[in-house]
Amino acid sequence: MDTSHHLLLLLMFLHYAIGSNSSCVKILPDSSSNIVLEVGKNFTATCHLLEGSVYTSDDIEWRLENISIAKQVYRKINETAVSVTVNVSSDMSGLLRCRAAKKSLSYAPQCIYGIFLRTGYPPLKPKNLSCLAVQEGKDISSYLNCSWDPGSRSPLLDTNYTLTVHVLASDLTYKAECNQHLARYCVVNLETFQIHMLFRVWVEVKNALGSERSDELQKYSAYFVKPNPPLNVRVLTEVNISTSLMVTWKHPVHETILKLSYAIRYRKVASDVWVEVPESFTKAYMESFRLQSLEPYTQYVVQMRCIGESHSSHWSNWSASVTGVNLCSVIFNSCLYSIAYCLLLQAPVKTNGKILEYYLNISQDYVMFESHTIRADKPRLMYSMELPPGKTASIELTAANSVGVSPKATLFIPRSDQELPGVGDMSWSVRDEKPEPELQVEWTAVPSRPAGLHLFHYLLEWVKIPQNVHQTELQAGWQRVSSNVTNTTLNGDLEKFKRYNISVYPIYKYHVRHTLQTHFQAGRPVTRPAYIQQGTPEKGPTVTVTKSKKNSAKLTWEEIPLDRQRGFITDYTIYYEIRNTKQWKSVTVSPNVHSYVLTDLASETDYVVNVMASTVAGSVKGMDCTFKTMKYGDGEVEVIVVVVCLSFLFLTVFIIMFCLRKREVIKKLLWPQVPDPSDSSIAHWSPDFPIKADVPKEDVSVVEVDVFDGKSLCEEDKAVLPLKKDKYLSEDHSSGIGGSSCMSSPRHSVSDIDSGDSGQTTVSTVQYSSVVAATYKGQTPSHQPPVFARSESTQPLLDCEEHPDHLSESGGQSRSSYFRRGRELELGVLGQECDGAVQEEETSPVAEDPPASALCYVQQQSGYRPQ
């Protein structure tokens, strides 16, 4: 037990010893937390060397955030203490250290001590404290929102704002705290808003350097209330009371909570100036008020707000605008003017009542021409009247309401050849006045006028163009200007971005002697288009390519419609590029140009083009248009075609010439010369042997058949012929002839066909009749020997060509020949032979008789027989 006690004491001693060594210096003032200093004031800190320290005051060094403090501000108090005095600045927050160390090398441990400094300002007194509790439903919100001016100087320190509401009667206190450096408002919850109670409200601001308290606001609670605007504000027209409107509303909050008084203001729809009803008229707790002394038949806008009785609360916001129109029934005394032959009627500026009708009388040469009664609900109308040359017209217009008729307004239209002079020149400009720009018109006075004419005044007319065809009313207006004025501001409500034609008419007044009447006549108008404000066009021009060539293209675009131009077109810019290259080129043309030819284009290339329209306010591009340039230029194709045609022509001529020159050669090549048998020389010979009486039976018969000669066929067998016509006429039958082009006649020859070989006779048919003369084993014919004709034709027999072996085999016995026989002979032979052939054909089995071989052939006993 004793041992442990001694050990504990030893540990305590060691701890003390180590602690004393580690902090052998100390700073005063000292604090475990930040020491807060006020900016701008001096601060003095003293570093004390503790007893037993090996250092002296000369070894002490002050540092603020690792920066040494100049020795000049050190003050040596004694051998163990050194103080330093600094003027506090806002950036001095940080660690202030006192360090004791030998300047020479030493093993003695250094002593360091530090304190944390924080700089700032004491809070300023909050000023202009005000509080607000808004209406919430039918009650007042329990949240009181107070605001104040904390001053512009930031305290740099954590600052606490405490808003306090003390309800005097109930002695209840409600507080809210806001901890921003520069809090400007705070909201306190009163649980239930204490109506009709006296409040004391103040705000207290506090930080480490001090505290301030605002002036107290001691008010009854209603003072802090901001009610809602009056409910259900309505403006009612009073039919039987002229120039007044009845305004009605509902209280926004019950009078037991806050008794209100009201404020009403009104203005004409077309005006921006509000007229406020004197508060003395509306301070009563009421729910209706009659606005009086208003202009009749005019639209008014009414707004209301409210405040606690005797201004005991905040004003509410203004209510939403409500519009009303008042009616009246008093006669008017003003009328209007009209222009030229197109009569434009405009309602009077001051009608003095509700206009019911207008009466329009038109006279020509002082004789009543026509009259109209115009309904007042369509006060703007147009009348067209044809005025013959040399005639004058007079137009009178009156207006009527329920009380009476107005004075006449007269317009005199002179003869067309008596046009009166107009103003010298006219120009306009826009003045950027707030809130809307104004159109200023200036003109020069009438240079000279005929004697007897008195310039009564000028008339300025503005007509919106283009006129909407669907609109019955003419969108125009005018105003009169005194004759001694040459500039004025148009008071019309001109629309922005719409074009108007502004015209200045001098109106002349003169007396007609013979009628003693006074006439008004308008001089020649001077008109200029104008905009009150210009904008960029609604859409760009749509461009089309009307003609595309090899290196150029013609572009055409429509003019943007007037109602879409929204300003004067200053120029058009044509942009074009080779497709997808994004290398745009541009050409700018004047606004009256609507087509342009692009040149220097590449051939057979896709181009993209668009046109941009510009006004002073901006530009708008139109749609892109793509086109492709041609491969050939103008005339190139024609040249090529002509050259080709000429070449062909020359070639053709050359060939023809060549053919003509070499026709004999060609003829020989194409048409081998076939000797004409008629020109052939026949050798007559007689056999040396005597003709025997018994003529040997001819084994050869020669027949030439013209199948196209109907008569050559068996006349008596015509009934049978149709059945076999196909067989006879089939061209297949001539194939065996050899198809030589020299054999132009489609003749079919039948010769030397053995009846037994009827199935194969086609191929063995000989083209030329062959004449074979043969004697049988040296027998001499009994009658006069026949005369044989032998052809000298060199044309070879096709069959022989095809069957040379057969030719050689039968060469000694048969020879081919060509000769013509008389038709009579042929018919006789054919008639006899066809009989036999038809008969045989009929008896032949159909299956064994192919059509290709179905020829009319002659049965022969002997003759040429193909193998």
Binding site: D139, V167, L168, A169, S170, D171, L172, E191, T192, Q194, I195, H196, M197, L198, Q218, K219, Y220, A222, Y223, H254, T256, I257, K259, I307, E309, S310, H311, S312, H314, W315
Partner: protein
């Protein structure tokens, strides 16, 4: 805000006028509260018989205005005690959900405290009147749900009645009753602290 009155006077009536307006507002709100309770509990709109719970000395014409106000003030204090008792018993039985009835009930309770504080400013020092609630009507002996509701209706009826009486009395006060609000007595301040809790 230019033109705003800063004297804090309520027309020509001053503090009494404000207190009368407050009593009138409270009377209106008590009627609304009774209506809300009847609707929420599906009770008939006919009044519950049995007279008023709070009894006070009769307001005979011989009493001065100050005495009448003092008597009514005592009655209102009893009404507040009863209303707080109602709130305690209702909140013990019914869930803590928010409803228009509960919001209005809180408004009436707070406003009644405001009216008590406001009327106390009109009291003449030294005049003390007491209002009583018979023990059998105090609600402590009420058992059963229906009986409790009937008792609550009677409490709310009393509120309507006594706030109406106070409103009427204050509105009939002559101008000489007007005086500036005074600093609260220590007793009242304690009461206010209680109300805040």
């Amino acid at each position: 805000m230019a033109g705003r009155g800063t004297n804090g006077r309520h027309g020509s009536r001053g503090h009494a006028g404000r207190t009368a307006a407050l009593a009138r507002l409270l009377h209106k709100e008590c009627i609304q509260l009774l209506e809300l309770y009847r609707n929420s509990e599906s009770l008939p709109s006919s009044p519950v018989d049995g007279g008023y719970l709070v009894s006070i000395p009769p307001l005979v014409p011989q009493l001065s205005d100050a005495e009448k106000i003092s008597i009514l003030h005592a009655a209102l204090k009893e009404c507040l005690r009863l209303l707080e008792d109602v709130i305690t018993r209702e909140d013990a039985d019914v869930s803590d959900e928010d409803s228009e009835y509960k919001r209005k009930r809180k408004t009436v309770r707070d406003r009644l405290g405001h009216l008590l504080a406001s009327t106390e400013q009109l009291l003449v020092d030294g005049q003390k009147f007491e209002a009583k609630v018979k023990e059998e009507l105090d609600g402590q002996a009420v058992s059963g749900s229906f009986s409790l509701k009937m008792w609550i209706v009677r409490v709310l009826q009393d509120l309507v009645h006594w706030t109406g009486q106070t409103s009427d009395t204050l509105r009939s006060l002559p101008a000489e009753m007007e005086k500036a609000p005074k600093t609260m007595s220590r007793r009242t301040r304690r009461g206010a602290e209680k109300i805040r809790k």
